[in-house]
């Protein structure tokens, strides 16, 4: 008898399922999940799970059994999981300049075409950008400075930080300021200024020196040395380095060096490592043959790196956390949502974040802004300035992106067991497939499927589950 022929829909609640690790993973829209053996899954489908058994209790409490679900509790959890929908855009990414002094393999921002000050944000434009940012109804905002290398436009960076403090005080909004920098032009005085104003600083650290510097050439300098020097300085001057963080961008050269990469972060004493995959479009696509990899290759690399981090934790050698896993685990194991903008339905574009180019142009998101830098302004939704917020939010492009990123209407997502935790990226779809909707097979989907598979497999181990519960409930620095 096949599984389908024994299925009695009236005996089950709504669920999705996936074959995993010799059994079945069952998930629901609230994010509830359970692992079932083949036998248990068959009993579940046919309505033969024995009342009073542990499996019956688990399935009932998770809302997977027909008729007995606590709909009120499930609805409350669903609301909490989706509470981000009504907050308004809280992340505002500001490109202070397109200039950069690095020539990273996965980036073209250091191109000679952008070396002049003409690609810098001016103070009048900065004021207009702040007008729009503070028009957001979100009671708490994060302003993230990016580039290029944002510190190359220090006069406007320092001006905006001070202006944000003033506007936050007047508006009553809580604001976090974040600087994403290669730290190559950091000085003691600048660090003083930033830390006194609680600016969080993030840099790239792609692993050991040779790997990092191969990925991120710094003509006339040593990118790795500068990043490490200032990360150490930040750590020394703040409690546990709470205001300094680093990101890994994984290139082909890193695939076999997962252990060295993790060890580099452990050696630095960082609380976490944020391992991120390359996407095969834009500047990276042009050099994909030398720096890129398949989704399967990345998933294999990620699995090894995560296993090693787990091993370090369980053996007591380190308490380092992997942030990509932490984001997935918060979605899987908690009652809330980390509001990671790339993994939401709808995605965060426009309604969770906005990106501002140096000239005041407003985009749905960072990815949309980067697409414009390549000549396609499809995701431009207006210009920053007083009274412009309403028009920006009503822009047809924004509405289209929001509609197109609802996972319920993606053919592949609707029945996927990972739908409650995942999200699509219309900019990726547009750049890769010429459509706002997801096409299959797709690299991004395969990467996330592989990451979810690995995390769920690890969750079956009780010791690892304990560690992952801790990660999921932690607050990132």
């Amino acid at each position: 008898m096949t599984l389908l022929s024994c299925y009695k829909p009236d005996k089950t609640g709504f669920f999705r399922h996936r074959r995993l690790a010799g059994g079945y993973l069952v998930t629901g829209d609230t994010g509830n999940f359970d692992f079932l053996t083949d036998r248990e899954f068959k009993d579940f489908l046919s309505g033969c799970v024995k009342p009073g058994s542990a499996v019956h209790a688990r399935l009932r409490d998770a809302g997977f059994l027909g008729g007995g679900a606590d709909v009120t509790a499930l609805a409350a959890k669903w609301r909490r999981k989706n509470s981000f929908l009504f907050g308004g855009p809280s992340l505002h990414i500001v490109v202070l300049t397109r200039r950069c002094n690095h020539a990273c393999s996965y980036c073209q921002s250091g191109s000679s075409a952008s070396r002049s000050g003409k690609a810098d944000m001016t103070r009048p434009v900065a004021d207009r950008v702040l007008d729009t940012i503070f028009s957001s109804p979100a009671p708490a905002l994060t302003v993230e400075f990016q580039g290029g290398e944002p510190a190359l436009n220090w006069p406007v960076l320092s001006y905006m930080v001070a202006a944000i403090e003033n506007r936050a005080a007047k508006s009553g909004k809580k604001v976090i300021i974040s600087l994403v920098s290669n730290l190559s032009v950091m000085t003691e005085a600048r660090l003083d200024f930033l830390l006194k104003r609680n600016v969080r600083i993030c840099t790239s650290l792609d692993g050991p020196q040779a790997l990092h510097n191969a990925n991120r050439p710094f003509p006339g300098g040593n990118s790795h040395a500068m990043a490490v020097k200032w990360l150490k300085a930040i750590k020394k001057r703040t409690r546990g380095g709470a205001h300094g963080d680093a990101l890994v961008t994984v290139t082909r050269a890193a695939l076999s060096r997962w252990k060295e990469m993790v060890d580099e972060y452990v050696k630095l004493g960082t609380t976490g490592i944020f391992i991120r995959f390359l996407n095969p479009f834009g500047a990276a696509k042009r050099v994909w043959a030398s720096i890129g990899y398949s989704a399967a290759e990345y998933v294999a690399f990620y699995g090894k790196a995560l296993d090693y981090i787990v091993e370090l934790n369980l053996s007591g050698k380190s308490s380092i956390m992997e942030h990509s896993a932490r984001i997935l685990l918060t979605k899987i194991l908690t009652q809330g949502d980390p509001n990671f903008l790339d993994l939401r339905s709808p995605c965060g574009a426009g309604i969770g974040q906005m990106a501002y180019d140096y000239d005041g142009s407003v985009f749905t998101c960072d990815e949309g802004r980067m697409l414009a830098a390549m000549g396609d302004e499809a995701f431009r939704i207006g210009a920053a300035g007083p009274g412009k917020y309403g028009g920006i939010m009503a822009n047809p492009a924004l509405k289209s992106v929001v509609t197109a990123s609802v996972t319920d209407i993606q053919v592949s997502c609707a029945s996927c067991a990972y739908k409650p935790y995942c999200g699509v990226c219309p900019v990726y779809n547009y750049a890769e497939h010429g459509d706002l909707f997801m096409h299959q097979p797709g690299y991004r989907c395969a990467v996330y499927m592989g990451m979810f598979d690995h995390v769920f497999k690890l969750l079956r181990n009780k010791k690892v589950r304990g560690l992952f519960e801790k990660w999921a409930n932690s607050k990132p620095a």
């Binding site: 609805a75 409350a76 609301r79 909490r80 509470s83 981000f84 907050g87 809280s90 992340l91 990273c104 996965y106 073209q108 921002s109 952008s114 690609a119 979100a138 009671p139 905002l141 994060t142 990016q146 290029g148 994403v180 290669n182 969080r200 993030c202 990101l247 961008t249 944020f274 991120r276 996407n279 834009g282 500047a283 942030h323 809330g336 949502d337 980390p338 903008l341 790339d342 965060g348 998101c365 960072d366 990815e367 980067m370 414009a372 830098a373 390549m374 000549g375 396609d376 499809a378 431009r380 047809p396 289209s400 209407i409 053919v411 547009y430 459509d435 706002l436 909707f437 990132p476 620095a477």
Partner: protein, 84 residues
């Protein structure tokens, strides 16, 4: 960087309404209606809850922040997408 006079500006709404697209205008109306109902349900719940508990610690509507650099993947020139 692309020159200003060589900019492309695609109308994204055509992806929602074109015949080869995934959904047609009628479906857009249905989706809007469903989202409206969902919005009402969630807003009612938010109003009823009065205050937010710790589960909301990083959700936008809870009055808290996107936590630093963990809120999205791109990070411009430091990004997994590279700078296009």
């Amino acid at each position: 960087m692309a020159s200003k006079n060589n900019k492309k500006n695609t109308d994204l709404s055509r992806f929602l309404t074109s015949e080869e697209g995934k959904i047609v205008k009628g479906d857009v109306v249905k989706i809007a209606a469903v989202l409206g109902i969902v919005a009402g349900a969630v807003q009612q719940a938010e109003a009823a809850s009065g205050s937010h508990d710790n589960y909301f610690h990083n959700a936008g509507s809870a009055g808290t922040y996107h936590n630093s650099h963990g809120s999205h993947a791109s990070h411009g020139s430091h990004g997994s997408h590279g700078q296009w």
